[in-house]
Symmetry: D2
Subunit: 367 residues, 4 copies
């Protein structure tokens, strides 16, 4: 059991290594009759695609997704959907430097200790390249959600890079697509560009914090007590490469609050649905959606591959030094934005399908 | 599918409501031949038991665990183990105040919206009382781990309560069992007692942060990429009532670090195993254990049941005010400590069993 | 992973041994709002209850089922339902005869070889007593089905006992509840009684074949290709103690047929639904229900505990002889009838819930 | 949840349609360090390949398998293995005849009723072509088993075709690979050829019975009570297209036996392991292997596509007649032999991995 799958009803299994022939996602449980085509999925892959600006890895691949099964005459059929992305830029470079050395901060040493064999080319299975498959599956989930929950909006953006946080007072969603950082703050985009240029030149890297929200989600989604909506979101985000922490709503700051300050008081809205005085809960109570915005944040550690020499050991146990050259992102957090959106889409669809199967779902009317 | 189970091979399903006849855990996948008895499990339940001091709920129950199956002549048999705790203190109190009102911050409204029916007595299934079943299962996991990994130590403690954080310089593990807060800092114990007394008197509550560590875990545990050790720990902790954020190692602070600062450099130890210059990673790389201490932190929101009046609505949609009387913890985070230890034990055992089944596990020798 | 659960959405985990304190079923995924009480479940347990006539084991237990969770004010809440049956007739008999001997045909030797420990009292976990928990879960499934598919009828009956088969020409469903064999043929009931009396007196036992049908099931249920309706039914029936073969529709006899003879031709019925010229398929095509009757048959081997001396070995590897005294059914197949009905109910409900969650289920209208 | 996966630890998900771009198997949980290459897998695919003789479909495809992931430098890495087979012979034939008609005995009508959309080209997902993916996965399972259980031998063969059964007295395993029917009886091979020639010419088809055995399997494999070895084998075989019944050991004939006749008495063998006087049980007691040969039989219904006109309806509900032309096997049972072997290999490996992970597995020594 090596657990390369997630989801309960909308079940995604990703496969493939950084430098193998291809990678992809096998999606089981996609509802039938949903319009889907490769161009629609490609839109999402293009957002994640490397080599688009100087702040992300210079590996250049088209990341072209192909649908190999489960779609007939432009619609899903309810059978498994195979999404494949061929690896085209498998440079026949010299890997001798990392073949027998364990790069600090990478999974090299643990994969070796676990499996006794590792595909060292570009990190193999532990490469962030695996997230391309997630983005493809997320594009599919979005297509399904568009037919089921047309009001739903999923939006990811960066809120912090190293010491620089966004100014919430300047929050402008329209900016997100306008800069290479998906940051909702034009001033931050300028400042961060300068900051990252400096970092990159010095061969260093930096961490980041990303926020993903979903608006338009109905109340009642979530499966207590071990498949809570927040539990599954935490799991989904933590599974992304380099993520070290996940928060819902107030998150870690909840430790500081009093019950009086933290209470989201409840009122009746004009449309006959409950409204809340605030959203400390991040849209989830007892693991079930309230109908408010879902708010998730997560931290990504700095890229471990840096040009600064670090101490490490070889497979033979000898001390050595390593400088990781190659095409690396100075901040892996940037490309985590579309990945996190994809994971959010998959988790929300999965829970919506769980919800639909239930007798009289959302039957607890109020008022 | 309502997902009241967790674990891949050591599979725990909890059941029961706050005020029903009983609650418990059905544990499937426990290895055979492990010595176990009710007294051994009771030890862990007693640590979590309410009513032990003035900082936790005054509900007084013996929380006596019974083993109904899967154990024969003092040893596990490899068949399912049923752990049952009868609810003895089901006060025939008047629930009319909350029967038709939704308590802010509780799952009352979302359970109603999801299921259209809810056992309102004490929160029903969403009550933190469900965690007693986790502690029983965790006790069982510890018994198994004691035979498999005798070096393993799991330790939970509080590191923050409201604005008060522990002083890491005063960290003293020996203090943990000496105060009602499981805080590894004698001075903090005194300060926090005073702080909580004030809060309790004012009818308010407060959040908390808990850290759980595991030392003595071998390298190589964890199932990339969706059953990573950190992914499963994040899921396990987030599933605990009132938890709003989970961190591994540096956690959210990783967003601020540079790659240079974050690198855990690798050396050979004198015993022929790798050692690290630091543990920013919290003992996990690429979802797999490194052999270093596993470090997890999580934040618990303040108890939502407070004596301060809050605005809410009734099932009929009418505006009303609520004051939640009853036997509530001013800081639910305190009793989350033994629960988190139990979840850690279950997750680590589960991953150890996954690991054992693999061919030549831990075969990637170094040196 | 010891896999004491079945079902995808309606998930049943049974637990307990023949002579432990109790046994039961933990049911997760039961829809909310379904009326249920202990008396309703007891009805089904009473049908399976031993000691009701001379053809079944003389162990006499009330097999009283208790609902410990998941039901509030007479309705299911959507949370896990714990069904417990206490073992009251745990005779303090002398087990020394079987403690160290392996009874041929029983799981004694394989449990020992697998687990290295076994609860030898009455077969422990491998006892057919485990099926009481299935019947309780099946009663719950029937209650849910009564609200969802009121037209559905599940009927089990014996069609063969040793060399005696029923005469299909005399098939009379009204007879099923009128004799101790659940045989739809009054003459067979008389003949079989005489036959079994002879067997019982000679200390021998015999096999049986049971048929279970479901009428009123809509078309479209079943999850190809590894959760087909027939696949799940085969698995469910084969999991019952002593079952050695399972058939759908024509079953093993399909090997003899030509395509021409086997074809179930399709016509439009007067009510606008498809009708078929025959039902060789047993109501399932490609793993999905056709709307015709579901027809399943399975064979149960003869009770292995007989009064005839058999050769075996002890745990120490010494040759010995064994006569299994005790309270045994001369034909375990008889009591398999209510168990098979229960399994059918669970599987059909499970697939109905899978079906409901799908977009536009049953949307492929004809005509 | 559309359940295109099977296996607990060695988890196989198949995907793809008869006339889509490709089909394949995503295998998760394959142990690392196992030598594997495409040629090794191809060997098994070639055995199943259509068009090899006049008794199987004349569709001619190379069925070339490609390994897209999970293998590095000739060894499995423990990460998911993607096995892809491109569909090369997708004749641009005219499907208008079956596009709107439901072929009797096929899944056309039920897929339509379930999904409201179906890929009618060659049966789409319900085509027996899906079994090519199973054979690829089975080849992988065999490669792993060869390293873990080198003594294990899995052998499938036909035992009946229409009215013709093999003569057990003439059983000669060496004949199996010598004739197009995988029948262990040279005389039967000759007789059956003549019989099938007649059938084919008349445009008819016929059913078959297949037996699959495994020798060299250790005692102690199987996970009671819902993941029994026989339960999983029944499920695996029943999931194969057109299978209508599955038997273990005596199978359906067990209904006729007395306990005295059915007893497999136990003795100590000269090598210190238990031996049995007979194998009515088919090598499984209580769901766990005894160490004897595993014996499974299953019946395959006659090919539904025949040249005899049959009555059916169109999607519009109009009565019509259908003759299924095309490249069909007169007896689909023939090609089920390698498929059943593949399923047996997957199930046995899966249970062996379950077994290995257990503490002290097979620790219950005898003698």
């Amino acid at each position: 059991m090596s657990i390369n799958s997630f989801g309960h009803l909308f079940r995604v299994t990703t496969w493939g290594e950084s430098h193998g022939p291809a990678l992809g996602a096998t999606v089981d449980g996609c509802p039938p009759g949903v319009p889907i085509d490769e161009a629609g999925l490609q839109h999402w892959l293009d957002r994640r695609k490397p080599g688009q600006n100087k702040y992300t890895t210079q590996r250049r691949e088209p990341d072209q997704v192909r649908i190999l099964s489960g779609v007939f005459e432009g619609q899903t059929t309810g059978t498994p959907i195979q999404l494949m992305i061929e690896n085209t830029d498998q440079r026949s470079k010299d890997y001798s430097d990392i073949k027998d050395k364990f790069r600090p901060g990478h999974a090299d040493i643990t994969y070796w200790q676990k499996y006794g064999i590792r595909d060292y080319r570009g990190g193999g299975r532990s490469s962030a390249r695996e997230t391309a498959a997630r983005v493809a599956a997320g594009g599919l989930a979005r297509a399904v959600l568009a037919t089921l929950l047309p009001e739903l909006r999923i939006t990811g953006y960066m809120v912090q890079i190293g010491p620089h946080r966004i100014d919430r007072a300047r929050f402008d969603a329209a900016q997100i697509e306008e800069n290479p950082f998906w940051v909702p703050d034009a001033q931050a985009a300028t400042d961060w560009a300068e900051y990252l240029d400096g970092l990159r030149k010095s061969g260093n890297s930096v961490g980041a914090m990303i926020e993903v929200t979903a608006s338009g989600l109905p109340a009642g989604l979530g499966a207590p007590v071990y498949g809570k909506l927040d539990t599954d979101l935490a799991s989904a985000m933590m599974s992304i490469n380099a993520v070290k922490g996940v928060e819902i709503g107030e998150g870690m700051a909840a430790a500081e609050l009093t019950g009086e300050a933290n209470a989201d008081e409840i009122f009746m809205g004009e449309d006959g649905n409950p409204v809340y005085s605030s959203n400390h809960a991040g849209g989830i109570l007892g693991g079930i959606s309230t109908g408010q915005d879902i708010i998730v944040r997560f931290a990504v550690k700095p890229t471990s591959s840096i040009l600064k020499p670090r101490q490490t050991i070889t497979r033979a146990g000898e001390a050595t030094e390593i400088i990781t050259k190659g095409r690396h992102d100075p901040c892996v957090g940037i490309r985590a934005v579309p990945v996190a959106e994809a994971m959010m889409a998959c988790v929300l669809l999965d829970h919506y399908l769980l919800h639909r199967g239930q007798i009289g779902h959302n039957r607890g009317a109020i008022g």
